[in-house]
């Protein structure tokens, strides 16, 4: 059974259909990508998956259960974590504190535990710190853990987001344009990291990406959408040679305004 099964998803904003009858699957242990020209609705799909948008119809099965119209925090708890296209770090907090936020949904200490500093609360705090540090060391940022997140260079801020997403103990990681704004070397590191997350940590990955080089290199399955509808699906080669895809990206021949 697929880890993520999106069925006939429809999303409209005041009558305008942004996602049209979209279906796709992500199998366990794979790296899948969702691509499409600007404005094709990729991020909207992510927002539906993670509960930020409420689809009009269709269904989303995750790990055997429907997560349709569930609240974002419950979806994260069910094991789906995301990063944002535009960085959404907790800017004035330290790198470590940022990553610790991911552990929130896996821990439970409440006000009373905090006030009395009970044994279990202390143990939990230690666990939160140690797991968060592990996540930071996985993305190679452990030395920066006490810096304020906003003082890091852009590329490192992206890594903080990845570490933070890892700390939620996800089954499926959704990366929204992880390569945006990264330089050549950072992109190479990113590819290595994506492969390590899948191979070493066994986490399934779904990417949205503009950088075709990156998508073609890492994805085992690519879904192409345009105007909110699926136009092609398959491996990198299959998609690259698909006439509809070429048309969507480059325009058909009779359109010569570009």
């Amino acid at each position: 059974m697929a880890l993520l099964d999106v069925k006939n998803l429809v999303l409209s904003f005041s009558g305008l259909q942004v996602i049209r009858d979209l279906s796709f699957r992500v199998e366990r242990g794979t790296i899948a990508s969702l691509i499409g020209p600007n404005g094709a609705g990729k991020t909207s799909v992510f927002n539906c998956l993670t509960g930020f948008y409420r689809p009009g119809s269709g269904d989303i099965d995750f790990n055997g259960h429907s997560i349709l119209r569930r609240k974002p925090h419950r979806i994260t708890r069910a094991g789906m974590a995301r990063t944002f296209q535009n960085l959404r770090l907790f800017k004035s907090m330290t790198v470590l504190e940022n990553v610790m936020s991911g552990m929130h949904c896996r821990t439970s200490a409440g006000a009373l535990g905090a006030i009395l500093k009970t044994g279990s609360q202390k143990k939990e705090e230690e666990l939160i710190t140690s797991v968060s540090e592990e996540c930071l060391s996985f993305v190679g940022l452990l030395e920066q853990k006490d810096r304020r997140a906003e003082t890091l260079p852009y590329g490192d801020q992206r890594r903080v987001e990845w570490a933070r997403a890892l700390a939620t103990r996800p089954r499926l990681l959704l990366f929204d344009e992880p390569a945006a704004g990264l330089n050549h070397d950072e992109k190479k590191d990113l590819i290595a990291l994506i492969l390590r997350i899948r191979d070493e940590l066994g986490i399934t990955i779904l990417l949205i990406e503009h950088d075709m080089g990156l998508v073609m290199k890492v994805s085992e399955k690519i879904t192409v959408i345009d105007y909110g509808a699926k136009i092609a699906e398959g491996t990198a080669e299959e998609v690259q040679n698909n006439a509809k895809v070429i048309e969507a990206y480059l325009g058909s021949e009779d359109e010569d305004f570009l």
């Binding site: 930020f52 974002p72 770090l89 800017k91 907090m93 504190e97 929130h104 896996r106 409440g110 905090a114």
Partner: protein, 320 residues
């Protein structure tokens, strides 16, 4: 301007844990000894300052930690005061037994008002809490059990270990201890999983939600804990005054408490205490100015907000 230099130097000196403990011990010692040397007037003013410190620390959890603008905080303080007032004066319940009831009532009030409204974004919350504050005051003004516009009188003075708490000095220590307890609880909460969650939600609600944090629950937590602080302060307020009236719990009271929090520095415990003291001491110290003093108080506040928008207490500096 040479002013900022000593403050950062002072901070550098305060930073090591050991020095901070010495400073805290000295301050606590001074606070303990003051009533032995102060006259009744000074004692009364300082008691009032500690009382406001408790209220400001409670509101600080809502405004400073969770970033929710609450314009009706006096309502929780009223719920606490009226619960104790009604139970002791009309039903003869022992004062100490009214505290858990008052705390439960203010918690319940927090849940009722916070539950539905904390789903809204914060601007709406400010309006709803403002309305809530007025509703509580008007209810108190119109019900028979709350004594109507003239309020309640004859509220029992509590006794502790056989001593009736009646003199100013007793209440000074009561409020001092409560303020220390409030600091302790605030500190522990701030540096906990819950405290971090408040900060996450305050900085970026959507990102916090994407990290699996239930933002409504986390905010409700802050709101209810803040309400409990107000409720407890209200209990002891009623016991100290032995009489309460609805006019104690006006909108301007809520604004005053909020002012203490913002003035001293939101989210910073020493700042909030300084804010509360500034609030109480300033009008007293400048009593000689007569009716001009509120005007001057206003101008001073404006200046502080213009030059130190983050409050009087300096921002925590992190080593980068």
């Amino acid at each position: 301007m040479a002013k900022p230099i000593p403050s950062t130097r002072l901070l550098g000196w305060l930073r090591p844990q050991r020095n901070r403990m010495i400073v805290l011990t000295v301050l606590a010692g001074v606070a303990m000894v003051i009533p032995l040397v102060a006259n009744n007037y000074v004692l009364e003013v300082l008691t009032n300052a500690w009382f406001y410190a408790i209220l400001c620390l409670g509101l600080n959890i809502v405004v400073g930690y969770a970033g929710l603008l609450d314009l009706g905080y006096a309502a929780f303080f009223a719920v606490g005061a009226y619960t104790t007032g009604i139970l002791t004066s009309k039903f003869g319940v022992n004062f100490w037994l009214t505290i858990p009831v008052a705390v439960s009532c203010s918690m319940l009030a927090g849940l009722i008002i916070g539950g539905p409204t904390l789903r809204l974004r914060s601007d709406y919350l400010a309006i709803v809490t403002l309305g809530f504050g007025e509703i509580v005051r008007i209810i108190a003004r119109n019900l028979e059990i709350t004594g109507g516009a003239s309020g309640l009188i004859g509220i029992d003075r509590p006794s502790f270990l056989g001593i009736e708490l009646s003199r100013g000095i007793h209440f000074y220590y009561v409020f001092l201890l409560l303020a220390i307890l409030a600091c302790f609880i605030s500190y522990r909460l701030q540096h906990s999983r819950l405290g971090r969650a408040w900060q996450y939600v305050r900085e970026d609600e959507d990102a916090a939600e994407a990290m699996g944090i239930n933002r409504v629950a986390v905010k409700l937590y802050a709101y209810v804990i803040g309400a409990m602080f107000g409720g407890v302060a209200g209990c002891f307020f009623a016991a100290k005054m032995t009489a309460i009236s609805p006019e104690t719990f006006t909108f301007s009271q809520s604004v005053l408490i909020l002012l203490g929090v913002v003035l001293g520095g939101m989210g910073k415990i020493p700042g909030v205490i300084i804010g509360a003291f500034a609030l109480v001491l300033f009008p007293e110290v400048f009593r000689g100015l007569g009716s001009m003093r509120m005007l001057i108080f206003g101008i001073v506040m404006l200046i502080i907000m213009l030059y130190r928008p983050e409050g009087i207490w300096p921002q925590r500096q992190r080593e980068s």
